[in-house]
């Protein structure tokens, strides 16, 4: 039987309940929510005067009502030490989501820490240290003293390169401006740490260097542009599942023709129709099915290309539209580089350096450099030539009266974690630039995003480019101490099999050393740890909200607060910045990451001073923050573009709609923002001119991929599932999710399953030259033969085990192009016997 809560009644929000501004803590879209709290011994009533909605709740409410919340939107939590009821429900007045909640965001209340209802009891409540063979609770001062002493000792022996850091760089939970600044000021301000990586990739780099190098920041449009365009091009993305309410609230209305009035009003001098959509993805995602149901198959072009061949496709489209003259000549002339440098000598095999793997140039030079015929591209991509031509026409063929088509391009992990990231990203931006679709209504060439954003740090220039491949440093025995902030490499890195083997061995050496001395003898303990480090051991400190998988190997856990337990600011995929106010207490002694970073800095200052190194100790001054607002004012307010206009008080007044960054003014009580970047045609390069990229196709770029493809029969494509946020760090204790997905799934063609004797729900092994992992087989009729799709980053089946170590020149991992064998391990376990294995795709009635 499927999981049921057997909740048939919920407490009613009283009229005088406190209302807090909140934004979903999960994905990039940042849906607006409101958090309501009131004392646990009180409740509202059904009569209009007795509830927050002012409506008669003894009556059935209508579809899309604001006056209802599901059991997942309710909990009992602590607020300033007192038990309160908590309802977190989508805000109908937020322009992002208009009251829509996804299956992830609408569970925020249920996934809050509660002693009363026993939810999220996995949360860390105390600092924990390795003592007597296990993790034991301790005080902040004790834990931080150990962290500071070992870190200082390693830096004294190895320099700052001996400190390896893994840290989030995003917004939302486990990030945000306060916390990226706190960690950034520690590692890039006080120190100049070079061996640092980000939560989902093995180096400190951009996921989209190419578009930035071309002068086009990756979040350049407004969500409204999806309502205004003639054509949406969705590349390597699955917005129905991973940017759900952006898709539902802004794409679908245009696909359905519901935004025609708005189009005619805002763009009166051209013909309008409902949007067409091109979806570039080897897999038929649920997004494709939804688009067909809404727009009709004739308005949906699904280009199911061979995995990793997007570069050839976009170069062919670029060539075709250039040859047809369907380009914006005036824009190219005014806003792009017109005097190109010569091609680098070894191009196209290599760029001018590994730092610059493409060649930035003019429109004409890029067209010649990227030139590929429709027929050649069809051969590489496996697509029908007519479909590539159709895509070019939908993107760029002028409308009646010779009016330019307005086309919006959205791309995400299929490109970012795909073959030849740099050049492919560039090839997509080439088409957007050529057609003048940046900075204009109905345009944009944007990444669709994963987490929200929330980055403000001192300069990272010292890290260099290409940045250090940190996983390889760790595997190679380098570094003595590892600080981890909200990252779980055991679930979410590439080459994870080898990484985990080596990491366990190195950290076990330190555990064994710690077991050999009494924990209360601090000097002896630090000495023992340092002896182990000199022999190749690694001391690991994990800052997180839950005990992570990599935490099993660590020696110190520091408990962090998450969004809602602290005030936190972030921006979404259209640069919309909001504050989520603190509406509940963090568990136990947990603290905001920014304050943990500050306390680490305080202890490092003290320890270095006690070692007599006053000059180095002085670098750790400036961390006397008492609250997250102190960190915000020190960081965002002083250092972000437009930050001087932004304060907590002003953000509170801006509510769930906030403003779009960068802020340019504060007028009449409002922060004035920037709906679209580059509306003035001036781009982010020293001369203000955007660059095209000369980026010809070069096959599977990362090391070992072509050999793996030749050797193993099954493509192990991978990505996200609708039910699950990120690595399931909270979902793993949510019954709705674990009931649906007791194991990581792998979608397989039913005939492949038959051939291998695999039944629905059976556990299979996925194995190749990089490693092995397991998943639960899910028959998927729309999956092509020998093309599977595995859930990424799930706790009990880590797809990264079978992703090899190959990266691009800029150390961007290539998770998507993975091939392996599949074999049955076991019949469906108990947890998988009751679940549905029916097709996940919606079909209209």
């Amino acid at each position: 039987m499927a999981f049921k809560r057997h909740v048939d009644r919920l407490p009613i929000i009283p009229k005088d309940a406190k209302e807090h501004t909140a934004v979903c803590q999960f994905c990039i879209v940042g849906c607006g929510y409101k958090a309501y709290t009131w004392d646990v011994n009180r409740q509202g009533g059904t009569t209009p005067g007795d509830n927050k909605f002012g409506v008669d709740l003894s009556k059935q409410q209508t579809a899309e009502t604001a006056a209802w919340y599901s059991p997942s939107m309710y909990n009992i939590v602590k607020q300033n030490g007192r038990e309160v009821h908590l309802v977190i429900k989508p805000d109908p007045n937020c322009v992002v989501n208009s009251g829509l909640g996804s299956i992830r965001g609408a569970r925020m209340a249920e996934m809050s820490y509660s002693q009363a209802t026993q939810t999220q009891q996995q949360r860390l409540t105390d600092p924990m240290v390795w003592r007597y063979g296990q993790m034991q609770p301790t005080s902040w001062d004790d834990a931080l003293d150990l962290v500071a002493r070992v870190t200082a000792a390693v830096i004294k022996e190895q320099g700052e390169d001996g400190l390896i850091v893994s840290a989030f760089d995003h917004g939302g939970a486990g990030g945000g401006y306060e916390n990226t600044w706190g960690t950034g000021k520690l590692y890039f301000g006080a120190m100049k740490v070079k061996n640092i990586r980000i939560h989902n990739r093995p180096a400190y780099n951009s996921e989209v260097h190419a578009t930035r190098d071309m002068g086009v920041g990756e979040l350049n449009n407004a969500y409204e542009d999806a309502e205004l365009c003639d054509t949406i091009v969705a590349i390597g993305c699955n917005p129905l599942e991973t940017q759900t309410n952006y898709f539902l609230n802004h794409w679908v209305p245009n696909l359905r023709g519901a935004t025609l009035d708005k189009k005619r009003r805002l763009m009166p001098d051209e013909p309008h129709d409902k949007a067409k959509i091109i979806i570039v993805d080897p897999r038929r995602t649920v997004t494709v099915s939804a688009c067909e149901a809404e727009a009709g198959k004739e308005n949906v072009l699904h280009l199911a290309l061979k995995s990793g061949t997007d570069l050839a496709l976009f170069n062919a489209i670029f060539t075709y539209i250039a040859d047809k003259g369907w380009v914006d000549k005036e824009f190219i002339e005014k806003s792009t580089l017109r005097t190109p440098a010569a091609r680098p000598p070894l191009f196209p095999a290599r760029g001018v350096s590994d730092e610059k793997p493409g060649h930035l140039t003019s429109f004409e030079a890029a067209v010649e450099g990227c030139r590929i015929s429709i027929e050649e591209a069809a051969k590489i991509t496996g697509l029908a030539p007519a479909d590539i031509v159709k895509a070019a026409e939908w993107i760029a063929m002028p409308k009646a009266g010779g009016k330019r088509r307005r086309t919006m391009f959205g791309y995400e992990k299929g490109i970012i974690w795909g073959n030849d990231n740099y050049r492919t990203n560039g090839a997509i931006v080439n088409v957007a630039l050529a057609t003048g679709n940046i900075g204009r209504l109905g345009g944009g060439v944007v990444r669709l995003g994963g987490h929200q954003e929330g980055y403000v740090r001192p300069s990272d220039a010292h890290v260099g480019r290409p940045a250090a491949y940190v996983d390889q440093l760790l595997i190679g025995g380098r570094g003595g101490v590892h600080h981890i902030w909200g990252c779980d490499h055991y679930k979410t890195t590439l080459n994870a099999d080898q990484f985990k083997r080596v990491y366990k061995r190195r950290t076990d050496m330190v555990k064994d050393a710690m077991n050999s001395v009494p924990a209360g003898d601090r000097d002896a303990l630090v000495n023992a740890i340092m002896v182990a480090i000199r022999q190749g051991g690694l001391f690991a400190v994990d800052v997180d909200i839950v005990p992570s998988k990599i935490g099993q190997a660590c020696h110190v856990w520091l408990p962090a607060a998450t969004q809602g337990e602290m005030n936190l600011t972030s921006m979404n995929g259209e640069r919309r910045m909001r504050i989520t106010e603190r509406y509940m207490d963090p568990p136990g002694q947990a603290m905001p990451d920014c304050l943990i970073a500050a306390r680490i800095a305080n202890h490092l200052e003290r320890v270095f001073r006690s070692m007599g190194d006053h000059a180095y100790a002085d670098k750790f001054k400036g961390f006397d923050w008492k609250t997250e607002e102190d960190a915000f004012m020190d960081g965002y307010h002083q250092h972000a573009p437009g930050g001087k206009f932004v304060t907590y008080e002003r953000l509170r007044a801006m509510g769930t709609n906030g403003f779009q960054e960068p802020a340019v003014d504060f007028k009449d009580g409002k922060i004035i923002g920037t709906p679209r970047l580059y509306a003035d045609g001036v781009f982010s390069t020293p001369d203000g001119k955007a660059r095209f990229m000369d980026a010809p196709w070069r096959g599977l770029q990362a090391a070992g991929k072509a050999e793996q493809q030749a050797r193993f029969p099954f493509l192990i494509n991978n990505g996200r599932a609708n039910h699950v946020w990120q690595s399931a760090y909270l979902d793993q204790q949510n019954d709705l999710v674990t009931d649906r997905w007791p194991h990581a799934f792998i979608e397989m063609n039913p005939d492949d399953m038959k051939e291998l004797g695999i039944q629905p729900g059976d556990l299979v092994e996925i194995v190749n030259d990089a490693g092995s992992t397991q998943a639960m087989a899910y028959p998927t009729p729309s999956a092509r033969r020998r093309e599977t799709f595995m859930l990424f980053g799930y706790p009990n089946g880590v797809q990264g085990n079978v992703v090899n170590a190959g990266v691009n020149e800029l150390v961007i991992p290539n998770y998507k192009q993975t091939w392996a064998n599949i074999r049955k391990l076991a019949s469906a376990p108990e947890g998988a016997r009751h679940i549905s294995f029916k097709d996940q795709h919606y079909r209209a009635a």
Binding site: P71, A293, L736
Partner: protein, 175 residues
Amino acid sequence: MRACKKLVEVGRRQFLRGGGSVAVGAAAAVVSGGGEAQAASPALARANYPSTRLANVKDLKVNEPKDVAYPDAEMPGVLIKLGKKVPGGVGPDGDIVGFTTVCPHKGFPLFYRADDRTLNCPGHYSRFDCEAGGQQIWGQATQNLPQYILRVDAKGDIYAEGVDELLYGRLSNVL
């Protein structure tokens, strides 16, 4: 299936105009026989469900949903004889189940798809498996589909006597 198609149309229309009431008029079957809904006493911890006769086992044909309403006329649902024993199934073959047809995500009316025995939402594409206790196969609801707790008496009359999840649009399953 005639009534089910009506549900779909209502759902479509409602969605296109961006709202409207739950498909009250679409519930072809009215509550008949059985007990009457009683106002829940404030002293009780749970809603006090009516025992409502929805149909007789002889009224049902395999894979042909019968429109009903429960716990009251404002909450449409279906009874379905699936032809195989399933979770929550009653009747001589353990194959009769009942579900609300108001989507627990945003309240749009679900339609039944006989080819794979699922209830589907035209609003945001959620799909629920009638053969797996209403498990959301895919979708945006944060609940699996509320299923009726059914009883069949000696005469073959089918009574609904409870629901296992909160129904959309009401903060008490019994108003």
